[in-house]
């Protein structure tokens, strides 16, 4: 049973965030650029240390875990990375076994990598240079590296942003398939429709605070206007939410206070569901 609790008190990025993710569950972190999604993920990983509050896995505060132990429990797929020198698919995924110790990869490490390559459908690419693969394949390799250490928590920072339609679906199918009841997943994601389709629950972040958290049904037109500053139509399609962005809203998220005349209200960058960055 996984239980992640976050409580930060950082006035700039994250304020008093409380979230829990269960094993086998995928929690989508939604929100405009700068709302703190990546920061939140990096705090769960000790890439950043929160100013206050704590993150626990299975009841153990991660701040007190040894780096190797933490790395064994938490798999992480960063938003972007580029190696300075070429590395093959096999070598890249093998990096994920490092926290399992040893100064050199063992036979069982290699077998684990072979299994992951097989599971992700990367057979035949094992010795290819990662930089020469397509964006979708590269993202699968990074997912493989995060999974090969058998983590109990998987953190994904916008793994689908740079991908085409087909690869978005493929990568998300793989992510959901890999959770399999014993891994808790957290994903920062821009595409609201992908989130509605694949996430068990979503958390809407706005200016470092949780605006709403719950099943994808919390994605209402009103919530989207308040968080993203975008007018959107929300429809139902095959029992799922379908968000169709219409136009930037006239008023920002701080609709309660009307903007002063001649002054453009500060609001987060409008964000459509059709992100292509």
């Amino acid at each position: 049973m996984q239980r992640l609790t976050f409580a930060y008190d950082d006035e700039q990025i994250l304020e008093e965030i409380n979230l829990t993710v269960q094993s086998g569950e995928l929690l989508g972190l939604l929100g405009p650029n700068g709302s703190g999604k990546s920061t939140l993920l990096e705090c769960c990983n000790r890439l950043l240390g929160p100013d206050s509050g704590r993150v626990t896995i299975d009841g153990d505060p991660i701040a007190t875990l040894a780096p190797d132990e933490r790395a064994r429990r938490v798999g992480y797929v960063p938003q972007s990375e580029s190696g300075a020198f070429p590395a093959s698919v096999f070598e890249t995924i093998l990096q994920g076994r490092r926290p399992h110790g040893g100064w050199s990869p063992s036979a069982s490490d290699r077998e684990a990598v072979e299994r992951v390559i097989d599971r992700l459908g990367l057979d035949g690419l094992a010795t290819r240079n990662v930089e020469n693969l397509s964006g979708g394949q590269r993202q699968k390799v990074r997912l493989g590296r995060a999974l090969v250490g058998d983590p109990s928590v998987l953190l994904l920072d916008e793994p689908t942003s740079a991908l085409d339609l087909k690869h978005r679906l493929e990568v998300m199918d793989l992510v959901v398939g890999q959770l399999q009841g014993d891994v808790a997943g957290m994903i920062a994601i821009h595409d609201l429709n992908l989130a509605a389709r694949y996430c068990d629950r979503v958390a809407l972040l706005a200016e470092g605070e949780v605006h709403a958290v719950g099943p994808p049904d919390v994605l209402t037109a009103e919530a989207i206007r308040e968080v993203y500053g975008v007018e959107a139509s929300v429809r139902r399609h095959r029992d799922r939410r379908l968000v169709v962005p219409e136009a930037p809203a006239d008023t920002g998220p701080s609709a309660a206070e009307p903007p002063i005349e001649g002054h453009v209200a500060d609001r987060p960058t409008p964000n459509t569901a059709e992100t292509d960055d």
């Binding site: 990375e81 300075a84 070429p86």
Partner: protein, 348 residues
């Protein structure tokens, strides 16, 4: 056997084959280097001399002259290549090399200062023990000052590769300026001694220097092999490496310190030998790819082979004139490096 296991096994065989091939080439080049020179030693006589037999002339040539020189070339070439490979990995930059980081310039400045203060250089006949050791010690200290400043800066600031390179470039220009200033005030003979020192020459190292270099280079190799996996992970980027439990800052600082120590030591004994540290790791990365476990030993072997071949050529091409090998490696290294850049562009 899965498709993956087959492909990976195939690649490993290729890598081990490459290691074996280079080792064999080194052995042949080394034997050849022992045999040829102003006095040719036939193979049978060479073997006899090595095992303590043969004529006294051959024993003297082999043991006093050529063996320390060939071993010196192997250790210096291997050490420079390992230091270069480590610097490239730590800096995540294909241009990582002693010259980029100001270590060579600082060592040259140290040597020049020693030559000026004592009025003798390693090249002059006078001076004896003092001259033999003072100049290298001063060069070593110079190199370590440069390293120390880089390490101090990156310890108090963040140890990013950019900080390291920029600091190194700045220090390099500073020591270069210092060197020019010293030369301006030096006498003609002193300038000659300083300039002579900067030409790398393996012949300067005798048995004691070769033994010291061997111990340090072997220790550094052992360190980088032991932590090879960590350095592999480091290449994926700071965030990824940290998420995999690697202490990125300490790994960078230690790698940099060890690579600089090895470089400063070698440069202080044999002078500046360009391009070996830069070219050898790139040859290896191009042929068998980059994982550290193979990169380190393979770079060492390639670097050693390059320097043995270059030094033998330097001794024999213009015989009886013995060229400083540093000039030759720069002449050979620059076009080889250009070729690698053009041919291997796709890989970095």
């Amino acid at each position: 056997m899965t498709e993956t296991a087959t492909a990976v096994g195939e690649r490993r065989r290729r890598r081990v084959g490459f290691l074996g091939g280079v080792a064999l080439t080194l052995a042949i080049a080394g034997t050849f280097a022992l045999a040829i020179g102003s006095v040719q030693v036939p193979l049978a006589d060479l073997l006899a001399a090595l095992t303590g037999g043969g004529t006294e002339l051959h024993r003297n040539i082999v043991w006093r002259n050529r063996l320390p020189r060939v071993l010196g070339a192997i250790v210096a070439g291997g050490g420079l290549a390992i230091a270069g490979a480590a610097m490239q990995t730590v800096l995540r930059n294909p241009l990582g090399a002693p010259y980029t980081l100001g270590i060579s310039q600082a060592a040259a400045f140290g040597a020049a200062l020693a030559i000026l203060l004592t009025g003798v250089g390693a090249g002059s006949a006078a001076g004896g023990l003092l001259a033999t050791w003072l100049t290298p010690i001063a060069a070593f200290l110079g190199g370590m000052v440069s390293t120390g400043v880089i390490l101090a800066l990156v310890t108090y600031r963040q140890a990013t590769p950019e900080t390291m390179i920029l600091t190194g470039v700045a220090l390099g220009s500073l020591f270069q300026a210092g060197l020019t200033l010293l030369q301006y005030f030096a006498s003609d003979t002193e300038v000659a001694a300083i300039v002579y020192w900067t030409f790398g020459d393996i012949g300067r190292a005798g048995w004691p220097q070769v033994i010291v270099m061997t111990v340090v280079v072997l220790a550094a190799t052992a360190y980088f092999l032991r932590h090879g996996w960590d350095y592999d992970v480091l290449d994926a980027g700071t965030d990824t490496a940290r998420s995999l439990g690697v202490n990125v800052d300490s790994l960078r600082i230690r790698g940099m310190a060890i690579a600089s120590l090895v470089t400063a030591l070698i440069v202080s004994f044999v002078g500046i030998i360009g391009f070996v540290g830069l070219v050898a790791p790139h040859v290896v990365r191009m042929v068998i790819g980059g994982t550290e476990r193979y990169l380190m030993p393979a770079s060492a072997l390639v670097g050693a082979t390059l320097l043995v071949v270059a030094d033998t050529a330097a001794r024999t091409v213009l015989s009886p004139v013995v060229l400083p090998v540093g000039i030759l490696t720069s002449f050979l290294g620059a076009p080889l490096f250009l070729y690698l850049v053009i041919e291997g562009r796709a890989y970095w």
